[in-house]
């Protein structure tokens, strides 16, 4: 007990140690987020190449925004959605398939017989969605850590004043 009193307020030492740990974790999360973003970037680039190849085969306007549904098209549901669960106070997202009846296969917007590249682009972007959700999970952890760091700093600061 005496030893603890010599080294100052024990709760402050504990708070400082915890702050160190959280900041270290924060640095790892920042690195992780950049890694996820690079994965997304390579997915988008690869997918875009296949879209460009399809465009070359099918014609300029065949793979463009003109083919996407607009406000006047009939309503439909997304086939890929994300589900949120909460673990230890932090939200965690997961990609799930929508089991609603009115989902559509997006490939049909571009024609009945689409080139193989279009199928490849679709699977690359579907994989990209997994990277996106992974990145969002890291981002959510970053944000909750940021809150913790601020709270700990305030706590340590208020302890110093008293």
């Amino acid at each position: 007990m005496a030893g603890e009193q010599d080294s100052g307020n024990p709760t402050e030492a504990v708070a400082n140690e915890l702050l160190d740990k959280i900041i270290l974790k924060q640095l790892h999360l920042m690195e992780e987020k950049m890694r996820c973003e690079l994965n997304i970037e390579s997915s988008i680039k690869n997918g875009s190449i296949h879209l460009a190849k399809s465009r070359y085969i099918m014609g300029q306007s065949s793979v463009s925004t003109a083919r996407l549904p607009t406000e006047s098209s009939p309503d439909f549901s997304a086939s890929t959605i994300c589900e949120t669960t909460e673990e230890d106070g932090v939200k965690v997202m997961k990609v799930i398939e929508n089991d609603a009846e009115n989902t559509v296969n997006p490939l049909r917007w571009f024609g009945v017989l689409v080139p193989q590249n279009m199928h490849k682009a679709q699977s690359i972007f579907q994989n990209g969605i997994n990277f996106v959700v992974e990145c969002v999970n890291v981002q959510l952890q970053l944000q909750s850590n940021l809150k913790l760091i601020n709270m700990l700093k305030q706590y340590i600061g208020s302890n110093k004043l008293t």
Binding site: T65, P69, C82, F125, L146
Partner: protein, 124 residues
């Protein structure tokens, strides 16, 4: 102990250039709901910034959207609106596009996290 609680699935929305939107919609995230509101917006060089801003605010207000994907170069145009959104959900994720590689120094979340490590803040 982990406390798990499942909530009904929500949408991923996208604000981006032509290839980003076509690609992610091809992946199956696109939806047009019963009120004819799409969860995506295609931005080209003629799209006014006010329209992007309005669309972003509309997506934030919708309670059926959990993730908003936005190309980083478009996010730059409405940076003040993105910075003012601090709630974790809907999560705003800045993604690179085929013409604009990812720049970590522009990312809102990473800048906020880096702010923790400025020298004035660390020396107590």
């Amino acid at each position: 102990m982990a406390l798990s609680m499942a909530v009904k699935g929500k949408l991923i929305s996208v604000i981006g250039d032509e290839d980003t939107c076509v690609g992610f919609l091809l992946g199956g995230i696109g939806e047009i709901n019963k009120n004819r509101h799409p969860n995506f917006m295609v931005v080209d060089k003629n799209t006014p910034v006010s329209e992007i801003e309005e669309c972003f605010r509309r997506f934030i207000k919708r309670d059926d959207i959990d993730i908003i994907l936005i190309n980083q170069n478009i996010a730059e145009m409405i940076r003040h609106v993105i910075d003012s959104h601090s709630a974790p959900v809907p999560a705003v994720l800045e993604i690179p596009s085929k013409d604009h590689p990812y720049d970590a120094s522009k990312d809102s979340i990473l800048r906020r996290a880096k702010g923790m490590f400025n020298p004035d803040d660390l020396v107590r």
